[in-house]
């Protein structure tokens, strides 16, 4: 392995509640759900009705514009409901599990006998394509495009994120098979971004080690330092957590959506890893493992920076390998909080006296700690975005929707997640990820 690429900019937020390296098998959940909103860039078309019997791998919905792209059931059972919201938007499709875990099909052709198109067809048909995203726009990849390269990140550097090196233990073959599959999909290279010091070894992909604070594990940051995306190019990106599922299917012919999920956050009594299946009900994963409380809590599928906010009776979302539970903090009125010394208030600046206690971890809650303002402070975003991109100017270009400027400043290289830390440190409390998401969506509409 070559020398690690060292990144200085960024920030590891000291959040309390890291999962210890211990796996607990979650009890099977009663219900599993597929949420179309988790897959950005598709238009859901539901293929089942309540009462339909489904097996693992039975399509639940497809993309309206690309009907060959299927999204399948992770368990066998019966479709319970197709929940819709305003203007009949599909909120989720829930499946009541029968606990039998029956497969709809248990064969898979040998990887070496397939060409790229065939591999792609298998991925689309078996509901595995949902794991592949693309830059630009950070959406579910367009299967008709041949990507320049494929980037896999095997390091989730976000706060409290699961450790891939731990998760992959015993599944190295799945990872290798996954890499072999990806190698069929591009004429370029497959890159595997790992944490410096990781012992991951694979054939057929270039392993690039990264060193530094979050967001060094973000695939966008890794692309930027390996082979940046310019206008007109498309690359595909995946998380290695998801690649394991793809690899296992091609290796064994079994669709196994089970995964290790890190149950984290300051509200969790004993944070650890849970073996479960995506879509599982939250209660099956969390169980009784929360500290007793008489205040509101925030449940997050994913990490505290980019995760999706969940209700108390929600489901583990398909793209995530982490559940975080933190206090909501909405009942917390701090008297003159902005004027107090603030020994217990984390700030990356030294404006609260918490700098007196380095190394301490904090129980963050979901409060903004201030009102929204115009951008006032300079250089805050720069410090946490390790790319040769001027984040403040890019954000302003997006707000003004000046397409030329956005292109020039690197809009095709970034995803909303790359701006998560900027949003965290922002004194002006601007919703930067939402701004970027909207900008990318508008740009995609404009360009296509």
């Amino acid at each position: 392995m070559a020398n690690a690429i060292k990144l200085k900019k960024g920030l590891d937020i000291p959040v309390e509640g890291r999962a210890e390296a211990r796996v607990v098998e979650a009890p099977p959940a009663e219900r599993y759900a597929l949420v179309p909103d988790d897959f950005h860039g598709i238009v859901p078309k539901v293929l089942v009705k309540p009462g339909d019997r489904v097996l693992i791998g039975t399509p639940l919905m497809c993309d309206k514009n690309r009907p060959e792209m299927l999204f399948v059931s992770p368990v066998s059972g019966e479709v319970e409901a197709v929940n819709r919201g305003e203007r009949r938007k599909v909120l989720n499709i829930t499946v009541k599990s029968d606990g039998k875990m029956e497969q709809s099909c248990t064969t898979c052709p040998e990887i070496s006998t397939l060409d790229g198109q065939q591999v792609k067809a298998v991925l689309l048909e078996r509901g595995l394509f949902m794991y592949i995203k693309q830059r630009p726009y950070d959406i579910i990849a367009d299967p008709t495009v041949f990507p320049r390269d494929i980037f896999v990140t095997a390091w989730d550097s976000a706060p409290l994120a699961p450790d891939f090196d731990f998760v992959v233990k015993g599944r190295e073959d799945d990872l290798q098979a996954g890499i072999d599959v990806l190698a069929k999909l591009t004429a370029g290279r497959v890159y595997l971004g790992v944490r410096a010091g990781s012992r991951l070894a694979v054939r057929g992909a270039e392993v690039v080690a990264f060193d530094g604070p979050h967001p060094a594990g973000n695939v966008g940051v890794q692309i930027h330092h390996i082979a940046p995306v310019s206008k007109g190019e498309t690359v595909w990106t995946l998380s290695a957590f998801d690649l394991l599922v793809i690899g296992r299917y091609f290796r064994t012919g079994v669709l196994d959506f089970s995964r290790l999920v890190a149950l984290t956050g300051s509200e969790v009594k004993a944070p650890h890893y849970v073996k479960t299946i995506w879509g599982a009900e939250l209660s099956s994963i969390i169980g009784e493992n929360l500290i007793p409380a008489n205040y509101h809590r925030r449940y997050i599928s994913g990490n505290v920076l980019t995760g999706t906010r969940l209700g108390e009776h929600d489901y583990l979302r398909a793209p995530h390998s982490q559940i975080t539970v933190i206090p909501e903090g909405d009942d917390c009125h701090e008297f003159f909080g902005w004027a107090m010394p603030g020994f217990g208030k984390y700030s990356v600046s030294h404006s609260y006296f918490s700098w007196l206690r380095p190394g301490r971890r904090y129980c963050f809650d979901a409060r903004l700690h201030g009102g929204e303002r115009a951008i006032i402070m300079q250089g805050e975003y720069d410090k946490v975005l390790p790319m040769d991109i001027l984040p403040e100017f890019l954000v302003k270009a997006v707000l003004a929707f000046d397409i030329d400027k956005m292109e020039n400043l690197g809009i095709y290289e970034v995803a909303p997640e790359d701006f998560a830390l900027c949003e965290f440190v922002d004194t002006s409390k601007l919703p930067l990820q939402a701004i970027m998401r909207e900008g990318l969506d508008k740009l995609r509409k404009e360009m296509n």
Binding site: S230, V304, C332, H333, W338, K345, H350, Q378, E423
Partner: protein
């Protein structure tokens, strides 16, 4: 605390849309968020946030200004009692109290006028009251001579807040530093009250305190004022009763000058606070000093009696006048300065150079630091433009290579 919170919660509905005092909503919210950090939680995006907000940022800056303010108060008293020859007869607290009484009305006037306008505008536009003026309001009294009439401060503050800030959209949108616009307005509208020998030392009493007759040797010229009017011979600067001054005196700051600007020591204490908390850009601050020293050194290479300022050493240059204050508190204003990292070096350096350039080679203005910052405020977007273009070019080059 609980009762206050309950009371606020009880009266809150009156101020919400539809309530009977809905027109005062932003005033209510201003006070509410002043008393309690808002408990709003994130709706989209990141679920946790850094504890810092604009209120905290501004409070830190005000804290950093305290050494300069307190020293300024003491110095006002010190210069007064020195002028009337009673310095040895009065104690520390009398001196300080005299200065306190002289400065406090200025702070009150600037806050009342500035915040009053902020409140009205926030109400009118229906947005939250913004904190920007909390800092401007204390900067303004610190950069004026002690004998500036209060009504002038009121007029200038109103002008600056309305025309330098609110018309551009409020805090974060202004092109020029609000406090400096106030100073510039005063300087051009009432030049006789802003410079000369009469305004930097209070010789009269303050609210009846410290009455007395000035000593015969008294002259109220600031060191830079003396430089500007110097003609021939060795340049030796004096304090207000004719004793010679050294570099240490310039550094400590017991010399006549604008209220908060005289003491390099007090200003550097503030600088430490700003840099340690990470609120101000060290790039700007450092490069202003580097620029000033460089230009000071260049000027001192060619001493000339036509431009007596060139006879000062570079160290004296940065200790005297408003240079250090401008470097630490004015140039580092993030809103009106350069916002790119490279740009900040250029921006700061040019402020330093131009400040000394004006001071030395424009004999019409004895002091150029504040004008240099205002001038560079104009150029900050241009500097950023070129830095951003550089970034764009790098990206295009990369694309062509691939």
């Amino acid at each position: 605390m609980k009762t206050l919170r309950n009371y606020l919660d009880k009266i809150k509905p009156n101020f919400m849309p539809g309530g009977k005092w809905a027109m005062f909503r932003s005033v209510f919210e201003g006070f509410e968020t002043f008393l309690y950090v808002p408990a709003t939680t994130s709706r989209s995006g990141v679920h946790i946030h850094d504890s810092i907000d604009t209120k905290r940022t501004m409070s830190v800056v005000i804290l950093a200004l305290m050494p300069a303010l307190l020293f300024g108060m003491y110095n006002v008293g010190y210069q007064h009692y020195l002028a009337i020859g009673e310095l040895s007869a009065v104690g520390f607290w009398t001196i300080f109290f005299f200065g306190f009484l002289a400065v406090l009305p200025k702070i009150i006037v600037s806050y009342v006028v500035g915040l009053g306008i902020e409140f009205v505008v926030a109400q009118w536009r229906g947005h939250e009251i913004q904190e920007g003026f909390l800092v401007s309001g204390i900067l303004i009294p610190l950069i004026v001579p002690v004998d500036t009439p209060l009504w002038m401060i009121a007029v200038a503050t109103a002008f600056a807040v309305i025309f330098a800030k609110e018309v551009f959209g409020g805090t974060g949108m202004n092109i020029f530093n609000v406090a400096l616009v106030t100073r510039a307005f005063l300087f051009f509208a009432y030049p006789s009250k802003m410079s000369g020998d009469e305004v930097f030392v209070r010789t009269a009493d303050t609210f009846g305190l410290g009455a007395g007759r000035v000593v015969d040797t008294f002259t109220g010229a600031t060191p830079l004022g003396q430089v500007a009017t110097h003609s021939g011979g060795d340049l030796v600067l004096h304090n207000i009763v004719g004793e010679p001054l050294s570099t240490l005196d310039y550094f400590l700051g017991l010399i006549p000058g604008s209220i908060g600007e005289t003491s390099m020591l007090a200003i550097l204490l503030g600088a430490v606070v700003l840099l340690w908390t990470g609120i101000a850009s060290w790039r700007v601050m450092l490069s202003v000093f580097v620029g000033g020293l460089a230009m000071g050194a260049l000027a001192s290479l060619f001493p000339s009696t036509v431009y007596p300022g060139s006879m000062l050493s570079p160290i004296d240059q940065i200790c005297l006048g408003g240079f250090a204050f401008a470097a630490v508190f004015m140039a580092t204003d993030p809103v009106t300065g350069a916002r790119t990292r490279t740009g900040q070096y250029i921006y700061g350096f040019l402020i330093g150079v131009i400040a000394i350039l004006i001071r030395v080679y424009n004999t019409g203005y004895p002091e150029g630091a504040m004008l240099a910052v205002l001038l560079m405020n104009v150029f900050a977007p241009l500097i950023d433009y070129f830095v951003v273009e550089g970034n764009i070019k790098r990206r295009l080059k990369r694309a062509r290579k691939a």
